[in-house]
């Protein structure tokens, strides 16, 4: 044990949070010039200059990544940054799926518009937490079916409500973005995804985020009636609430 370390008071008399704020303020001096003015990659933003997911039906790598601090997002490896992926959003740590790698770089799905937006983040220099999720979520629109897989095996299958013909649930690969308690029209758990309604720019004051949530009237399950969200029974939401953030969701016809 180090007595010297135990007695150390490097910022005695100053609030530690104030000290951390002081360091945070210094973050505007970024090694990547202009990053301060870049849009954040969140469910509330639309990003320009980002590539679309080229494998929207692929399960990906099963790896999810969490930036410990704000992380620059690039349209291509080594290119200029086009956005910043924040460490936290919607009160949850940001975890995004890794769908491709190149030496020193990770291609991830982003939670912003346009749908199926992707970006590259540097894999070097630290500041990333990587983990593996054994889960995969599939939504089949025509069959009105939600299936949760763990390690390749279906662990639950439910009949759900999907988007109405004029407000369809968007197709392709997205991911579980957050877990919110007691929200939504049913007061149920809400799990926003990284995709958005393609026909509604906003809904209810929000950015049109597509989410899994419950519904008080069970007759909606099995029908195409929503504004794009997936209305699911309580048992499905209970299973989904154990799925790690960043887990891939594949929505097919």
């Amino acid at each position: 044990m180090s007595q010297r370390a135990a007695r150390r008071r490097p910022y005695g008399g100053i609030s530690i949070v104030a000290v951390l704020m002081m360091f945070a303020a210094g973050s505007s001096v970024s090694p990547e010039a202009g990053m301060t003015f870049l849009p954040q990659a969140t469910t509330f933003t639309a990003l320009g200059g980002v590539a679309r997911d080229t494998a929207p039906l692929s399960e990906g790598t099963g790896v999810v990544v969490h930036p410990v601090g704000d992380r620059p997002v690039h349209a291509r490896p080594g290119g200029p940054p086009v956005a910043v992926l924040p460490s936290l959003q919607l009160g949850n740590p940001t975890w995004v799926p890794v769908v491709q790698t190149k030496p020193g770089w990770l291609k991830v799905l982003l939670p912003s518009r346009p749908n199926r937006a992707t970006g590259w983040i540097s894999g070097a220099g630290g500041g990333l937490r990587v983990a593996r999720t054994p889960y995969l979520v599939r939504v089949e629109r025509a069959a009105r079916r939600l299936t949760v897989y763990r390690s390749g095996r279906a662990i639950g299958r439910w009949t759900v409500g999907v988007g109405a013909p004029k407000t369809p649930t968007p197709l392709g690969r997205t991911f579980v973005l957050a877990l919110l308690r007691g929200q939504g029209e049913s007061g149920s758990t809400v799990m926003p995804t990284g995709t958005h309604s393609a026909t509604l720019d906003s809904y209810g004051g929000g950015p049109g985020t597509v989410a899994f949530h419950g519904w008080p009237d069970k007759s909606v399950f099995g029908r195409a009636v929503s504004h794009g969200c997936i209305r699911a029974p309580d048992s499905a939401l209970e299973a989904l609430s154990r799925v790690p953030l960043g887990t891939v969701v594949i929505i097919t016809r």
């Binding site: 490097p10 360091f23 009160g91 949850n92 990770l106 070097a124 630290g126 758990t189 790690p244």
Partner: protein
């Protein structure tokens, strides 16, 4: 609250014997191929740095037990009853009366144990903000903490990371506060490690920090680290390489519901 009582009692002992290191029961040994068990109670990296304290490591290849006691107080964290023990197969670290981030995070006691390749964290009277925390959180349970203009801290409870050689690192509570681009302040409480052969020189730790490894060095940016193939030098890992080689070992944490209102597409 048996654990709490136990540790509060240990606290008094620790204060009386702060900074002592007791090498106990160095009994006859049998050779062991496992890496030594290690334990330390507090460490921090970033603007505020705390070397791992108190820190113990079982003597490799010997059936012996080492115990270290201590207490700590500074502007970042206060804790008493710091107790770290390790023998050839088991390590344990615990603390009492923990207060950090200006009491936004408090606990009567935190204890982590690593034995037989399995890890357990037990909390007593723990609160994050206004929220009470269950006694035995699932591995890698992550909870955000709002710091106002300073941003949002991330608290991982029962953080468990298994290295490529099978070695398990368990940290009872790991706090990360982003402070600048790619940098962070970290605080780890009750860190233990056990198991593993130590034979895989490319052993990789994908965790957000590496306080669990004690002497492996400070990592102020919360980086993953990679033990270099050619010696003791530690360099930041290229995470893309970890993914490409399918060496990601950490299990993604179960989500924790947030009280946030987001109108969704209905």
């Amino acid at each position: 609250m048996g654990l709490s009582r136990h540790l509060v009692g240990a606290a008094a002992l620790a204060i009386a014997a702060a900074s002592t290191l007791v090498s106990a029961a160095a009994s006859a040994s049998q050779a062991s191929t496992d890496s030594p068990s290690t334990a330390h109670v507090l460490s921090a990296n970033g603007p505020v740095h705390i070397n791992p304290i108190p820190k113990v490591e079982s003597p490799q290849g010997q059936a012996a037990r080492r115990v270290a006691l201590g207490s700590h107080e500074d502007q970042l964290i206060t804790a008493t009853g710091l107790l770290a023990t390790a023998d050839e197969s088991r390590s344990e670290a615990s603390a009492a009366h923990i207060r950090t981030l200006e009491k936004r995070i408090t606990a009567d006691a935190i204890k982590s144990t690593c034995a037989g390749g399995e890890g357990v964290t037990t909390l007593a009277g723990a609160r994050i903000g206004d929220r009470p925390i269950e006694a035995n959180p699932a591995p890698n349970t992550t909870i955000p903490v709002d710091l106002g203009k300073a941003g949002t801290a991330s608290v991982t409870l029962n953080k468990q990371v298994r290295g490529a050689d099978g070695r398990l690192n368990v940290t009872g509570m790991a706090v990360t506060v982003p402070v600048s681009e790619g940098k962070s302040q970290t605080v780890d409480v009750a860190s233990v490690a056990c198991g593993g052969t130590g034979e895989d020189a490319s052993s990789i730790d994908q965790s957000a920090d590496n306080g669990d490894h004690g002497d492996n060095g400070a990592h102020e940016d919360g980086s993953a680290v990679d033990r270099a193939q050619d010696g003791d030098a530690i360099k930041p890992a290229d995470v893309s390489d970890v993914v490409r080689r399918d060496k990601v070992e950490e299990a993604a944490p179960a989500p924790v519901p947030a009280e946030v209102d987001l109108p969704v597409a209905g």
